[in-house]
């Protein structure tokens, strides 16, 4: 039941600082002309060996199947700008990512896709991650407006990048329609900026 400001679901903790987008989705899976098939490739090389045999990654633990809220550590999504990374997370079933900090391009990509990035400080995040390990079946209740998260009868707080939070509260996380409205104002800027001749 997700209305604009509420998110719910079960969680999983994927440990690690500086988890880069090459790890989230290895480059060979970027060979595609749509994002539709990316879900199964999520964290592939962390989850499977070179013979495609499961390495018993937490994402494949039976108790965490169907989880829609991922918790990680600092600087999540660093490296390549590939939107394939948040697309793979979303196609895999994730709807919310919680971390201490996010790489910026990744954060922007997630927002546009409607997947909120929640920033939670270390002590609370560690406590939450531990609790998720103990209660894999418990449901999160997240309120983006109040910036509260309730899990296993405990309340946690988080912050969001203000523009991202505002985008979710109003349901306008995809900016394209608003960008297109400014057509005339764009033309004014385009005309004023007399860039040097690119036409060759």
């Amino acid at each position: 039941m997700n209305d604009l400001v509420k998110r719910s679901g079960r969680g999983v903790y994927v440990q690690g600082n500086d988890i880069d987008t090459d790890r989230i989705i290895p480059a060979r899976f970027l060979k595609c002309v749509t994002f539709d098939e990316l879900g199964p490739a999520l964290f592939y090389d962390e989850r499977f060996d070179t013979q495609d045999v499961s390495k018993g990654h937490i994402l494949d633990a039976p108790v965490h199947q169907g989880a829609s809220i991922m918790i990680s550590d600092t600087n999540f999504g660093c490296g390549s700008s590939r939107e394939h990374a948040p697309q793979a997370l979303q196609k895999f079933g994730f709807e919310v990512i919680i971390a201490e900090s996010f790489a910026e391009i990744f954060h922007g990509n997630c927002t546009t896709l409607g997947m909120p990035c929640l920033i939670m400080e270390k002590t609370q995040r560690k406590a939450l991650a531990a609790l998720v390990g103990h209660h894999p079946d418990a449901e999160f209740l997240i309120d983006l407006q109040a910036q509260t998260l309730i899990f296993a009868n405990e309340q946690f707080s988080f912050t969001m990048k203000e523009s991202s939070r505002e985008a979710f509260l109003t349901g306008r996380f995809d900016p394209l329609d608003e960008l297109l409205v400014a057509k005339d104002a764009i033309q004014v800027v385009a005309t004023r900026l007399s860039y040097s001749d690119h036409s060759g």
């Binding site: 600082n17 790890r23 480059a27 070179t50 910026e104 608003e178 057509k183």
Partner: protein, 472 residues
């Protein structure tokens, strides 16, 4: 109080505020390639939208293109499909596409500058994080996701939050054998892989001012590896001299007018900065990575750090990195055996990179245990290198001289590590699995350090291997 370059470019390109508190910013130049734009064209089609300013978008093919046999169809059917989609989309929307064998194809961040598309004072975006490269010219150059590629195609604008600006002053003079790559690895080592989050980096100081444009591109290229959204260097006479005479730069009176306008974008002497960091350029050593992030780096003479000296998750990260790299704490990094040597990429695949290496490898041989490849960043780099005979020097030394492309930097093409091979690489990322094998290991370094490692079969100090003398 004056303005810094970032503020000037932002103000010039501002269309207006958006309802969520972000701002709509006009993009002067949009560069696209085959990996992150085909899906965006699909999104446009779904919404029945046209490309708003096709004359401001330029396409090339780099990530998936093979560097050996580039004949069509490519041997990999998916690579062929991506190429075909880009080719059809650019034709349908009237976008100029620098095709293979056009004389202008290459890595997108090599092509833009060498054609003169990249100019000071403009906003540039591309669905590739290393777009920060173009900041070397005093542009604000941003890597973006595919939905944003869609936004730019449809509106020529992006929704953006303003950034803070950190000025990084690299003082003094670099020692012989210390390069722009060492400067950027050193900065990331000092400030961390997430030290730049929320910032644009302005690189300045005597070391940066003395650099050529190609060296400046190497520094700005890796801004993203330090977490910064972009990095730039104020335009100066070095910038203007590089641009003069380029294919897409105006000539004569037009150039003089452009030059005056460009100069006006440089940060004012009394500009405000949110942060200032001073780095001692004299102290920078040839720098290499030992771990799995670009910040896990050390000087060539140093020993690999001991996780026991770190705390908490940092300790785990370091232990994981050592385990992955199969390296021992407290051992010297010099002497680490390598299997592959790669010179190329948007970081270090320009003519001056190959010139610097050719100058030291002539008459020497790559170790018999090493597979060495040199991959020019563009067809123009390839042609210029051949005209100077560099290709022969590399080949005689035992390097394979390949055709232009991203090659082994990210291995979306046939150039890959096999198993747990160790690669001495002039590229930008040493992430786990980055070079195409889930157990492959990458050690980042400058091109001449890659050359030294290739000759020795192990990580080595180029100053010793090539007997580089400190200029008196």
């Amino acid at each position: 109080m004056g303005k810094n370059l970032y503020q000037k470019v932002w103000d010039d390109h501002l269309v207006g505020p958006l309802e969520n508190g972000q701002y709509q910013i006009f993009m002067g130049l949009h560069l696209i390639h085959e990996v992150t734009s085909p899906q965006a064209f699909g999104m446009l089609k779904d919404k029945d939208l046209k490309v708003a300013y096709p004359g401001r978008t330029f396409a090339t093919v780099d990530h998936i293109i093979p560097t050996d046999d580039q004949s069509r169809p490519f041997s990999d059917p998916m690579a062929e499909r991506m190429m075909a989609v880009l080719s059809d989309a650019t034709e349908a929307h009237g976008i100029e596409f620098f095709q293979p064998n056009s004389g202008s194809q290459g890595i997108v961040h090599v092509v833009g500058p060498e054609l003169g598309l990249t100019q000071p004072g403009i906003t540039i975006c591309c669905g590739d994080s290393h777009t920060s490269t173009h900041g070397a010219f005093g542009s604000i150059a941003l890597g973006i996701g595919t939905s944003q590629v869609r936004d730019v195609l449809a509106s020529q604008t992006l929704a953006m939050d303003p950034l803070k600006v950190r000025r990084i002053e690299v003082t003094g003079t670099l020692s012989t054998g210390v390069t722009a790559k060492d400067v950027t690895l050193h900065i990331i080592r000092m400030l961390g892989v997430n030290g730049g989050v929320g910032y644009a980096y302005e690189y300045a100081g005597a070391v940066i001012e003395a650099m050529t444009m190609e060296e400046r591109m190497t520094v700005c290229n890796m801004s993203i590896e330090g977490g910064a959204r972009c990095g730039y260097i104020n335009p100066d006479e070095t910038t203007f001299a590089y641009l003069e005479g380029r294919e897409r730069v105006p000539s004569g009176d037009g150039f003089d007018a452009a030059k005056r306008r460009w100069a006006g974008y440089a940060s004012d002497p009394d500009a405000h900065y949110d942060d200032v960091v001073v780095i001692d350029g004299d102290a920078i050593e040839p720098t290499v990575t030992w771990g799995v992030t670009p910040a896990q780096a050390l000087g060539i003479g140093e020993r690999i750090p001991d996780p026991a000296a770190a705390e908490g998750l940092d300790q785990e990260l370091m232990s994981d990195a050592l385990r992955y790299m199969q390296l021992e704490a407290d051992a010297p990094i010099a002497g680490t055996k390598i299997d592959v040597a790669f010179i190329g990429s948007c970081t270090n695949g320009r003519l001056s990179d190959f010139q610097a290496v050719a100058a030291v490898i002539e008459g020497r041989k790559v170790s018999s245990s090493v597979r060495a490849i040199a991959v020019p960043g563009s067809e123009k780099v390839d042609q210029a290198a051949r005209a100077l005979g560099l290709h022969d020097i590399f080949t005689a030394a035992g390097f394979e001289w390949r055709k232009p492309g991203c090659s082994m930097c990210l291995a979306m093409n046939p150039d890959k590590l096999v198993g747990d091979e160790v690669c001495a690489s002039s590229s930008n990322r040493n992430f786990m699995g980055r070079q195409g094998s889930s157990t492959g290991r990458t050690i980042l370094m400058s091109p001449i350090m890659v050359a030294a490692a290739a000759m020795q079969g192990a990580v080595a100090d180029a100053r010793d291997v090539f007997q580089l003398e400190q200029a008196s």
